[in-house]
Symmetry: D2
Subunit: 137 residues, 4 copies
């Protein structure tokens, strides 16, 4: 049983550090977002297009476990893994790695598909589900 | 000849520092925004209401001169001064002060009144101009 | 059995919104930090002083459950509650409320006391423990 | 007479938008920083290494002129141009371009070389000046 994942790179910006000399913990949610957007993009799905078609994906829960510090100018790798076939929610696990392979953080997010006009939950759009069907589960 | 101004307080957040141990220079535009929103509020004008009525105020130019460092937990004072009676633009000067009175930064912004539906510049709404008329110039 | 808590106010900044028209989910960690710093301050403890004395408090885990959206210019209340007497870790629960009393988010963070020079975990400083002793548990 | 420049790419993050649906104006300073760090890197100079060697480069003035909006997921190009041979200051001009070539913003920053231990201005380190000598001016 495999899980489909994607890897994204992000270089730490100066403004993302804090006075401890490491990446401010509150900046990690942005890294996770980069991870899942790039995960989607590999299926030919643009989050931007999805939102323009009237479906948005607010985060409803977020968990981050900080293992090691990341520093300015580090090139981090965000490994994003779809946890299960999405329904009205979509759940991802994440691992963030330093260049030497150390795990910087582990994280999980749950997001909800929302119809922007009706402002209510909807199922994952079919055109996305079809692309995920072929994933090995 | 006087200029009408307002003073706002903002306490520096940990996440606003960078690894130099001072407030990241890129966070100052947020402080300026707090300053001009509070400036507006003293005339009974809510920027939020203005935007909901269909007029937004994008920044079209920004200048900041950094004089001294601000540090975590500092309580800064932002003095916001309307530069002249607004037309299709509105211009503010700012001074940011430390608690000991030192000038941390000086700044200037020009913003444009935009009709959100038509996506084009408009004149400053009359209900704002009326409130500014009484200002000593 | 009571738990000692503190309430802090924070007004949502324009730059904290995202294109969904609500507060970007990644900005909540900053609100939590404001909450726990103000919680500490009511005991006469300044987080800044603690750090200057060589003890820092990195976040080691963070969980946020997003219940409702917060909007620009909202005045949020962050209720921060110490979960138990700190040891080498300190744990807080948080609730974030809208002005109408709605729960916007619930959260939890665990932080570790770290000796900055030795770069290793230490126990909660005695001068803080003494202040917490009187808390009803 | 030519000026040496570098081009960097940055993809707009969701959290960088605001409720106008465009990139929050206060996030541009981060883009400029990416630009000048990559400009330096092409000469084999790492800003991180420079700072670790005891020289830091605080921004002392910043000017941004906003021409057009940038949007979520846009791939921006930051063109960074050294304005003149640095002394105790270093000055850059910037242009930010959309994918279609439109100019999104023009900007300028002046930074000062600072000896971190002595906390006072110093001249641009020789190992950087030597690399800039060959530039066509």
């Amino acid at each position: 049983m495999g899980k489909r994942f994607a890897e994204s790179k992000v270089r730490v910006r100066y403004g993302e550090t804090d006075q401890m000399g490491v990446v401010y913990h509150g900046n990690y949610p942005q890294f996770l977002e980069i991870g899942r957007v790039e995960w989607l993009r590999q299926f030919g799905v643009s989050y931007r297009d999805m939102e323009e078609s009237g479906v948005m994906l607010p985060v409803i829960s977020l968990t981050i476990s900080y293992k090691k510090s990341a520093r300015y100018d580090d090139l981090l790798t965000i490994k994003t893994t779809l946890k299960k076939i999405p329904s009205i929610k979509i759940e991802f696990d994440y691992e963030i790695f330093a260049e030497n392979g150390d795990v910087i953080a582990e994280a999980n997010t749950v997001l909800a598909f929302m119809d922007m006009k009706k402002n209510r939950p909807v199922k994952c759009p079919d055109y996305i589900l079809e692309k995920l069907e072929a994933l090995p589960y």
